[in-house]
């Protein structure tokens, strides 16, 4: 009897042990995944703090002996186009975020709350169009923007992007559908017209959806490359997400005693990445919300 209990206990311990071992192996693996995700970012940040002497040592390392902000001073002060590109990116993101919010709010409200012939057809067309591959779309867009004299300008590009309303429209409609009807009904009984219903009732109650839209659009347009690169010719009009690629080319033309091309490039890359990282880390829950309320509800 006693041996039986002992052996049962042994099996039990073994089971627990192996389960915990599996758990530890899994956690270890996840830590490795996290390190791989972070390492390039950490490395570029570390390199951006190094000066010429330290960078061109025999082996690159993750340790900085003499951290310095000289590289950042250099790219922002000596390369006049870099601050300009940051301004362009802010302008682009600003127009696009505001434009998309306004357009999608006014468009989503009737689609969520009012009835009119063709309502569902409009919504479905817009949403399903997302899944049609756009062969030749970039060329046609180039021609169209050129024809409308919107090409090679940041406001023109921003206006073009304002037409890409699928995700914002979807999220805003979803948000409006989530507002209790009674609130709007009572406002309507009190004599509010449609515009007042939207601006005084629906909009204030859907700030969550708007934040989600704004964040996602900001992050996307801060980093968008192909369209901006194609539509804009003058490097002084590039947003930073495009212009950052020029730093590599400039590398051969600038040298100073303190900085090395290499460090200055890294400083540029990190400066370009930093706003997105800050926004993301501070407001991370909204991004996940954006994913689960947007694309996954289709």
């Amino acid at each position: 009897m006693a041996t039986k209990t002992a052996s049962w206990q042994w099996t039990h311990t073994k089971m627990l042990l192996s389960r915990n071992l599996g758990r530890w192996a899994m956690n270890l693996f996840l830590i490795v995944v996290a390190i791989i995700s972070l390492l390039p970012i950490v490395w570029v940040f570390v390199s951006s703090l190094k000066l010429r002497q330290e960078l061109y040592q025999a082996t690159p390392s993750l340790i900085v002996r003499h951290p310095s902000l000289e590289n950042y001073r250099f790219i922002f002060k000596e390369l006049p186009e870099i601050p300009l590109m940051f301004k362009n990116a802010v302008l682009l993101c600003g127009i696009v975020v505001v434009g998309k919010l306004v357009l999608s709010t006014f468009m989503a409200y009737p689609l969520a709350r009012m009835d009119f012939p063709g309502r569902d057809a409009i919504f479905l067309t817009v949403v399903l169009s997302m899944f049609i591959p756009r062969a030749g779309g970039l060329m046609a867009t180039y021609e169209l923007l050129d024809f409308l004299h919107l090409r090679n300008s940041i406001p023109g590009l921003a206006f073009y992007w304002c037409g890409h309303l699928v995700t914002p429209l979807f999220i805003m409609r979803q948000t409006f559908l989530g507002i209790p009807r009674e609130v709007e009904e009572s406002a309507y009984i009190d004599g509010a017209n449609t515009l007042q219903l939207i601006l005084k009732i629906a909009v204030p109650m859907s700030t969550t959806g708007m934040v989600v839209v704004a964040l996602n659009e900001f992050v996307f347009h801060w980093g968008e490359y192909l369209t901006a690169y194609t539509m804009i010719d003058d490097s002084s009009k590039y947003p930073i997400g495009v212009g950052i690629a020029l730093v590599r080319g400039w590398g051969t033309t600038f040298t100073s005693q303190l900085t090395a091309t290499y460090g200055a490039e890294c400083a540029g890359y990190f400066a370009c990445i930093a706003p997105v990282i800050i926004v993301f880390v501070l407001l991370q829950k909204w991004f996940i919300r954006g994913l689960s309320e947007g694309i996954l509800k289709f």
Binding site: L30, S47, D115, S129, A135, L165, L291, L296
Partner: protein, 317 residues
């Protein structure tokens, strides 16, 4: 009176206004929808259709007289030319190789990692992982690819040093050399795209009803078995979604443009990049031919995804 107003309010808001009551079209609704809808049509539907027409034109942007489809219509000449275009053939093989490496990994790795993150007990660790894994996905693509370009550098890059310190001797791998350039492109692209897919899977897994696992556990189905027979089948909508979202991967452009610029030689010249160069870089800006290349690429992607869907369906049936 109160009831009547209430009913009218409900009709207007819930959407009976135009039909049950007086036959009256709700102009305000159209007025509100119109601006968004028109600008959406202008910048989405028009380019889509125009792109289709372009593919059957000998359209060179720098020769304005070729804009009119009636004048420069050339039937299927663009498509015939593609068969003789060696550059197109080379680039298509590069794209297919890239897709064959990228697509399976960009689905398998995220589903495995997401399943593991869902198992993490500590909420703090799980939330840390979600942030860190998603981070690369939101970075500007140009900056991310340029950082990888630096990491891959054989002399000053960190990757060789890291591998050297792990295996204990110096390595000198030419990541962006002729042999490894394409796999390196896949690695960098995976790093960038991995977090997005992982988070999609993770949201899918969090949405699975825990009772299913409890019920299965009663029947002795736990651990890896429950993962294979419950989690994976229930994630099918996410698999489908990711495949749809990745349908354009055959046309991968930006990564190759920034990280390797198609090189060395044309080892990483994807069809997307080739198309871009034909339309915007080479000679006359041959947009007609480029649109035809794009259309063919779209058709190939659609056929490929149809095959994948078919395979998935038969496997689950």
């Amino acid at each position: 009176m109160e009831t009547l107003r209430r009913v009218r309010a409900e009709r207007k808001l819930l959407g009976q206004g135009g039909r049950v009551g007086r036959a009256r079209i709700n102009w305000i609704a159209y007025l509100l929808v119109a601006p968004g809808f028109l600008i959406w049509m202008l910048f989405n539907i028009y380019p889509m259709l125009r792109g289709l027409v372009m593919a059957f034109q000998d359209y060179r942007f720098l020769y304005p007289e070729t804009i009119n489809p009636l004048h420069s219509f050339n039937g299927i000449d663009n498509f015939v030319e593609m068969f003789h275009d060696r550059m197109f053939g080379t680039s298509l093989i590069v794209s297919l190789k890239f897709t064959a490496m990228y697509l399976p990994l960009s689905i398998i790795l995220p589903v495995v990692v997401a399943s593991m993150v869902a198992q993490v007990r500590s909420e703090r660790f799980a939330s840390f992982l979600r942030v860190v894994i998603y981070l690369p996905a939101i970075l500007p693509i140009a900056a991310a690819m340029l950082v990888w370009n630096k990491l891959f550098d054989p002399h000053f890059g960190y990757l060789n040093v890291l591998i050297g310190s792990i295996i204990g001797r110096k390595v000198n791998i030419l990541w962006l050399g002729p042999d490894l350039a394409l796999p390196s492109l896949v690695i960098a692209s995976l790093w960038k795209g991995f977090g997005y897919n992982t988070l999609l899977f993770l949201i899918g897994i969090y949405g699975i009803n825990q009772e299913l696992y409890d019920a299965a556990a009663v029947d002795g189905c736990t651990g890896i078995k429950s993962w294979w027979y419950i989690t994976i089948p229930l994630l099918k909508p996410i698999f489908t979604l990711i495949l749809v979202l990745n349908a354009g991967i055959l046309g991968v452009t930006e990564q190759a443009m920034i990280l390797t610029n198609g090189g060395p030689g044309d080892r990483t010249l994807t069809t997307g990049l080739y198309l871009w160069r034909v339309a915007f870089l080479y000679g006359d800006m041959r947009m007609g031919y480029a649109a035809a290349v794009g259309l063919s690429l779209g058709i190939v992607s659609m056929v490929l995804s149809a095959i994948i869907f078919k395979l998935m369906r038969t496997e689950r049936a």
